[in-house]
């Protein structure tokens, strides 16, 4: 009789867990799906702190359309499949706005899944607000009506960096290093095409992809760059891959300019030290030494004091404020209407006017190329060093054509 008993036991367990709970609650729920553990956990945690600070600010000012805003964190461990599992959990908890930024692989999975969810569950649509996944395909080949991006994509940022390269006649050879996934491949392709187009005289002496989050010691890669005699290094690395790369470059005394997207925050500056001064450059929509109103500076100081973390993601506040403006306009959590309002919206940020381009939902915003330097007014991660603007690129100049052919809901 032994087998029979075991069967009956776990059938009852199944029955017990079939009790019904459903969680519908009012208020604006925002689902933050990013890595909150593992090698990129600290990067994800920093983004969450920015969103929660923005939500508190908006709630203090009366909330979005009169409703309180809540940001719920979901840990996807930077894995696309886990992102879909967490998306399902978020939707079940009543989340109607999903924000994500770390890892274009997760972003590609989310944008596809959200489009399918909206098609299959009319009336329960979900909006995907992407604050940092910069794979160009998201607003070109794979664009869709429910995805909005609040960060310049790879080609826009690469255009800025290669413009700077145009008038550096003493730089003859370049080495490209990126992580082996969609973003890294897009970064490498953009770098290759734009360098050959704008600097035909320059020679690309190396283009390497390394597995994301798994290389613990970048010294062999740095030594390869040195033996290839590269005059400049272009890298798309971010989070722990950026920190460790810079740590290895510092240890090996690699004295060449590093053009990066993410060299300026989340642990990288502390690993750079003195040898990186004047060499490491980044292209971002914000750094602490761009002058802005005193009120904005006070906000930055307050954020850093509350979270003991550098104010880095200005675009998160742009995202939240534009969402706030849209929901105030619509008056309720009606996602299709909110999406329509966001399309083509212009918004005045403390660092200039930005517009959400209607035909591919890509935010057009001013970008700044800045260099890691000494003796600056505000330092980064209290290292004594900070970033100083080289070139300010107005929003219109960053705009690139799009191949997006979006299917708009009827």
């Amino acid at each position: 009789m032994s087998k029979g008993v075991v069967w009956k036991a776990n059938l009852t367990a199944l029955l017990l867990s079939a009790s019904v709970i459903s969680a519908e609650a009012d208020g604006v729920k925002i689902g933050y799906i990013d890595p909150l553990s593992g090698p990129f956990g600290s990067t994800g945690d920093a983004g969450l702190k920015h969103f929660r600070y923005a939500a508190n600010e908006i709630n203090a000012a009366g909330g979005m359309g009169g409703m309180q805003v809540e940001v719920i964190g979901f840990d996807n461990k930077l894995n696309p499949k886990e992102s879909l599992v967490q998306l399902q959990k978020a939707i079940d908890q009543g989340v109607r706005f999903v924000v994500q930024g770390n890892g274009s692989s997760a972003a590609n999975a989310l944008t596809d899944a959200i489009a399918k969810h909206n098609k299959r569950n009319p009336g329960e649509e979900v909006l995907f607000l992407n604050y940092a996944a910069v794979d160009p395909a998201l607003t070109n080949k794979k664009c869709n009506y429910w995805h909005f991006r609040f960060d310049a994509h790879v080609d826009m940022k690469m255009a800025g960096l290669t413009d700077w390269l145009q008038n550096q006649k003493d730089i003859k050879t370049a080495y490209i290093l990126a992580q082996d996934y969609s973003f890294g491949r897009a970064f490498t392709d953009a770098a290759k095409s734009m360098i050959t187009e704008k600097r035909p005289d320059m020679k690309i002496v190396g283009a390497e992809l390394h597995p994301i989050g798994r290389v613990k010691d970048f010294t062999p890669y740095v030594q390869k760059m040195m033996s290839a005699k590269a005059d400049v290094v272009l890298t798309g690395n971010w989070g722990t891959d950026m920190t460790l790369l810079v740590k290895a470059a510092n240890a090996s005394g690699h004295q060449v300019p590093y053009l990066t997207f993410y060299g300026g925050g989340l642990g990288a500056p502390t690993a750079m030290g003195q040898s990186a001064v004047g060499l490491v450059k980044q292209i971002t929509e914000f750094h602490e030494n761009i002058e802005a109103s005193d009120e904005q500076m006070a906000r930055v100081d307050d954020f850093e004091e509350v979270n003991n973390l550098d104010y880095y993601y200005e675009r998160v506040f742009t995202l939240m404020n534009m969402l706030d403006k849209a929901i105030d306009g619509v008056g309720s959590v009606d996602v299709p209407k909110i999406a329509a309002t966001l399309e083509g919206m212009t918004y005045e940020t403390p660092y200039g006017e930005v517009t959400m381009r209607a035909d591919d939902h890509q935010l057009i915003q001013p970008l700044y190329i800045s260099t890691f330097s000494e003796g600056v007014e505000r330092d980064v991660e209290n290292t004594g060093f900070g970033f100083e603007t080289d070139i300010a690129i107005p929003a219109a100049a960053t705009e690139l054509p799009t191949t997006c052919k979006m299917r708009r809901p009827s």
């Binding site: 029979g4 075991v6 019904v20 499949k81 079940d92 908890q93 999975a109 082996d180 994301i212």
Partner: protein, 425 residues
Amino acid sequence: MTDYSLDRVPDLAPSARYKFATRVLPLLLLALILLSIPLFEPSRTWLSLFNAIGINMVFALSYNMLLGQAGLLSFGHAVYFGLGGYAAMHGMNAIENASYDGGIWAAFPMFGLPLVGFAGGALAGALIGFPSCRRSDVPFAMISLGIAELVAAAGFMFISVFGGEEGITGDRMNGIELFGLSLGPLGDVYWFIAFWTFVGVALMYAFTRTPLGKMAQAVRDNPERVKFVGYNPNRVRYLVFIAAGGFAGLAGGMSAVNYEIFTPESLSVIPSGLVLLMAFIGGARYFAGPILGAVVLTYMQSNLSDYSEAWLLYLGLLFIGMILFAPGGLAGLLLSGTAALKHSLSVKGLLRVGAFASSALLAAAGIIVLVELAVRYSNGFGEAFEPFGLHLAPDQMMSWVVGLVLAGVGIGALKVLSKQGGMGS
């Protein structure tokens, strides 16, 4: 010795009633459960939980075909789950493309993708199983670990097959519909998962009733003797390995349709570890053990992780507790519990089982309090741990004392009770 003429030999097969009670009835009950769940109108959260439980049930049972039936400890069973899943994903995309430009795939229903998964898993089992089945026990475990790491690493290289970091995605709402299910909303997917879970469980149970299934158990008990009754143990292991790979691929196919995405991580050692925990905690000695393990672990993985960040610690402690004190797993504990109750239904028997259960609960409560306090203390947020109305802040000494006392009393009682007479095989 009286003289026997050998044709009047008593039929030793178990009585029809016994056979029905232990073999057919449980399957009917399972079918009843699967049919009745939608009547409760479960929300999307519960539907996705049940889908995950269904997939893990088939996966854990396929793993137990190796561990419980054939005595092979594998650290790489997710390879066959993953390869089967990838086969199903490519099948899904082929169906989608066929709906535009025609081809044989247009005739294949999305509902049948787990069969593609089964084929993928079985083929992988046949290719990888051939060299590794020549060894057993620790060497087999090491080869399975090595192969799992190899295939997972290859997953990031062959982009066209495994899709690199992004993996392969697809849309299940294509091709011809079967039983009127568009497989769009989760409700339809539930029926799809329920159907294949029942088919998987029934087939795997039937497998244990076949000559090959019986010989697999013989190889588990005594591979030496099997050689002398006409069977080559490596050949038996190899065939069981292919079948187990096939059913793991079936679970992979179900997962492909449910999640519509497959990434190389699902091939690696992490999911292989989880399925091992499911089978062992559930009770590898019993056919239905892994089902219990799958229900418990899937619930812990998806729901418990919301209430406590340390759910993996609880899982590890439960696993080590099982190995040290109850190798028979949950099913083993359950059986010896009911057996103890049935045999000595006396008050003493009830008291003993009651005492065991309560001291185990006490110890568990103590450990949970200590762990939750530690988690809150280390993550720096101040909010206290409020179970059932108690207010235990991590910075007050009192809360830690409460935890220590509970755990101490519980474990002490368990030690005393177990010294009096073995409980749990």
